[in-house]
Subunit: 193 residues, 2 copies
């Protein structure tokens, strides 16, 4: 997740066609320096840790995503990357326009994560969307948290961490790397057992 | 400021005798590993970047602090460190129990900062308290932001960044350092002029 220092992962008023919210593009400049290139999947301009991190994301073998994020992105046309299976977290029936063979709608985060893990055959699963990440954290099914900290105070928008359970979740910093315009932080989520 | 990954700088229910809020001590373990030593000023156990950062804080020549933080800390007995002048931001009259020769009550953040800068004679000024930091940021009188990012999701408490102005404030990462249990981030606040 690309997050501002004040904790936002999108600007306000996110809607189809404005998927990152007002001025939310600022948080993604490290990946998408060209404001017109929101759909671009070409990552050739990235170097160093930023490149490694995007390569790792693109090497995941399944995606779990919240319905809102999925809809805002137009379902990525059914293909997030390399045609890997996509599990959409939603209690509502699918929109027929957002159904593809590789897309499965699932009503709870634990089931979605288990299905994705099986589909990934032991490889990593990418979790997409702030609310879904929070649900996965609360359910204890998130192994790692990767935050791309952007040196800006956005002031408003959607927070990554909001309405969290009122108890500590301990993290362990696995890796940190500074790149131009972004500090990459990789945390392991510590579980009790 | 010691801040959790989810943006809190204190637990809930901060009050005199519970100055860091419920479980807020977790955020300060890198400085105060012993929970009974809240008042301890002995920093001999710190090493590396953590030691440098605390040494820099203790080398500041004036302190600007919000009244609430000042009161929660019992006014540090009038001496935050080395007897440097303390400027307390408050519109209300001083509590007689919290007046000392080196303590000045000031009603607005720009005046407080200017007085502190003059008192510091060109050396750094320490700004204390989340609300005061936000006011100083909004007024454009904060040069740097130092965040000690603690690998925990606190889930509740007082946020460092809340009710911020609804416009971007660009930062520049000057320095980052990982130490056991804390990632130190030092940002310059970019101003328009």
């Amino acid at each position: 997740m690309s997050m501002s220092v004040d904790g936002f992962i999108a600007g306000p008023n996110a809607a189809p066609g404005n998927g990152l919210g007002d001025e939310g593009h600022r948080l993604h400049e490290w990946v998408l320096p060209d404001a017109d290139a929101d759909r671009r999947k070409d990552l050739d301009h990235l170097t160093g840790a930023s490149r490694e991190i995007m390569d790792e994301a693109m090497a995941t073998e399944a995606v779990v995503v919240g319905r809102r994020t999925f809809e805002l992105a137009g379902g990525w046309g059914g293909d997030h990357h390399d045609g890997v299976p996509i599990f959409v977290l939603s209690r509502r029936r699918p929109d027929p326009e957002l159904e593809w063979p590789g897309v499965t709608y699932v009503s709870d985060v634990t089931t979605a994560t288990n299905l994705a893990r099986n589909a990934a055959g032991g490889k990593d699963v990418l979790v997409h969307g702030a609310r879904t990440a929070r649900l996965a954290l609360a359910a204890g099914v998130l192994d790692e948290l990767r935050i791309h900290l952007i040196p800006v105070l956005l002031g408003r928008g959607e927070r990554l961490f909001d309405d969290m359970p009122p108890h500590h979740i301990e993290l362990e910093l696995l890796h940190a790397a500074d790149e131009p315009g972004v500090t990459h932080l990789r945390y392991r989520v510590r579980t009790e057992n």
